[in-house]
Symmetry: C2
Subunit: 316 residues, 2 copies
């Protein structure tokens, strides 16, 4: 299990490589919510997502000898770009396994950052096998997108900054996909502000965290149905353990609610959030979290939305 | 003519009422430009535009006796919301003349901020007549969107902050509509950093500033053709005088270039900019300003884009 000390060490380690992102507020959204909302803008982070934090921490934690062999991961999303960027900053190779069918802009971004892409069939088994083969061949260090304590600690640094810029929070809400972010966030919040509640939010169509949290054991899903592509992964035993330790509630939201929340955030904050990043605010809008009169921190996790296919556009 | 002292006084006056907006950077945009770009995010300002600054300065400059009668303006855009907001903050009435056909969201925003809207025919003559009648009836102080030294000084405060957060700039680029922003920006930049160039950018389809700057006298346009709806106004004698004193170059850009620049900014910075706000970056992309190897400040003026009609969407 990670601790506050791990997150503070991560912060010192990755400080030169990540942005201190701004915290935005909106009088209009406050009025509508009957609460004071503080949006931590990780969509404005390098590579457009908080994933830059965890990947940088994992890459810069490696010994020089281990790092020299490079790093590997499998991802179709923001974690791939984050690992490629962190490896480039350290001057080591990044081997990225991507499933065929992954969005071209994502692959182009990985290549622009110097990542070496290996394509595989679009199944979890193929991704894991291909990554394992590359690790065996190269000796690269595998950097899992969330089932890795250095990654979790890195993601938790976003909460340290949020608590500094928006003190006295009563609640912190973050999305749950594989659970790496919420594990780090909950650890930081419960250590620094034990009275604050931590709420995880996920799509009802990918609600393995809600089910696992309620059952007290891992209940992975065979399939998911959500536009929040960053939240389709299932928890690991480690992230579930962190969630059971530090999260007070897991809220689920509808697909329509995600789209409405996404648009409301674009209009009020003038920042681009991807569907996954709108899920915590969707939980507020759908009444899944009681925050009236409270001070609420919300992690806006990423801004890599597909501008050609917006969920409110008739043509998408 | 306004001075640096006016802008510094404005900053102290409006400090409690405006945001210190962040300055964003992008490694990718830097690489593409061969320069270091610093984007001052006035799209993240209250009401989604720098106009909050000038309106607040003009409203809070009024004596208590004058203010008690309220303020008036005619505008279909961001200035209307800015005046309504500033008046609400001071607790005085705001009489806003809007042309029929103005975007409904803009009118709704003005009403939400407590502005009292009077509709008129969509001509400049009707707007001015209607506003003059309201001023005669109420004694309200007219707050022109740009032909007003307090407004210019207020807009210039954005440049003070930019020069603090991004020191040693070689160039500052801002859009030109009626010229209120560039008048304030040029005054601040030339006072604090005389060696820096100031470039104004406007659509080729609304190029009265380029024509007037070249001719040395006002050349207003009978009609304009641009998606940059915030830049259709013509200079006043006063803003032209400020431009001739402090601006080194006026660059013009194509309509296609505005749309491409807008999308590139959304993708790289993850913030929403309206078409007018993309015009300075469009000038860079179209090679209208030579900035290679330099440090370039760019004012992103607003984020009130119409999310249902994006210029790259086939359906718009």
């Amino acid at each position: 299990m990670i601790s506050l000390a791990d997150i503070e060490a991560a912060r010192a380690r990755i400080g030169p490589y990540v942005r201190r992102t701004p915290v935005l507020t909106s009088e209009r959204l406050n009025d509508e919510a009957g609460a004071r909302l503080f949006f931590k803008c990780e969509n404005l982070q390098h590579i457009g997502a908080f994933k830059a934090r965890g990947a940088a921490n994992a890459v810069f934690t490696l010994s020089d000898a281990a790092a020299a062999k490079g790093v590997a991961t499998h991802s179709s999303g923001n974690h791939a770009a984050a690992v490629a960027r962190a490896a480039a900053l350290r001057g080591i190779p990044a081997y990225i396994v991507m499933p065929e069918g992954a969005a071209r802009p994502k692959a182009a971004q990985v290549e622009r950052l110097g990542g070496r892409i290996t394509w595989c069939a679009p199944t979890l088994a193929a991704r894991e096998e291909t990554a394992a083969r590359i690790v065996a061949e190269t000796g690269a260090a595998m950097i899992h997108p969330y089932d890795n304590p250095d990654v979790m600690a890195g993601q938790g640094t976003a909460a340290l900054e949020l608590l500094e810029d928006a003190p006295d929070l009563d609640v912190v809400i973050a999305p749950i996909g594989g659970g790496g972010l919420i594990s780090g966030v909950a650890t930081a919040v419960k250590a620094l502000r034990p009275a604050a509640r931590v709420i995880g939010a996920e799509p009802a169509g990918a609600d393995d965290a809600a089910r696992s949290f309620a059952a007290g054991r891992l209940i992975p899903l065979a399939e998911t149905h959500t536009i929040a592509d960053g939240l389709r992964a299932s928890l690991s035993q480690s992230t579930l353990d962190h969630i059971r330790r530090g999260v007070d509630q897991v809220a689920t939201v509808s697909e329509a609610g995600i789209a409405l929340a996404m648009r409301a955030l674009w209009e009020a904050l003038k920042v681009i959030v991807e569907p996954s990043a709108a899920v915590p605010y969707a939980a507020l809008r759908e009444g899944r979290a009681d925050v009236r009169g409270q001070r609420v921190g919300i992690i806006l996790t990423g801004g890599n939305a597909d501008l050609d296919h917006l969920p409110w556009s008739a043509s998408s």
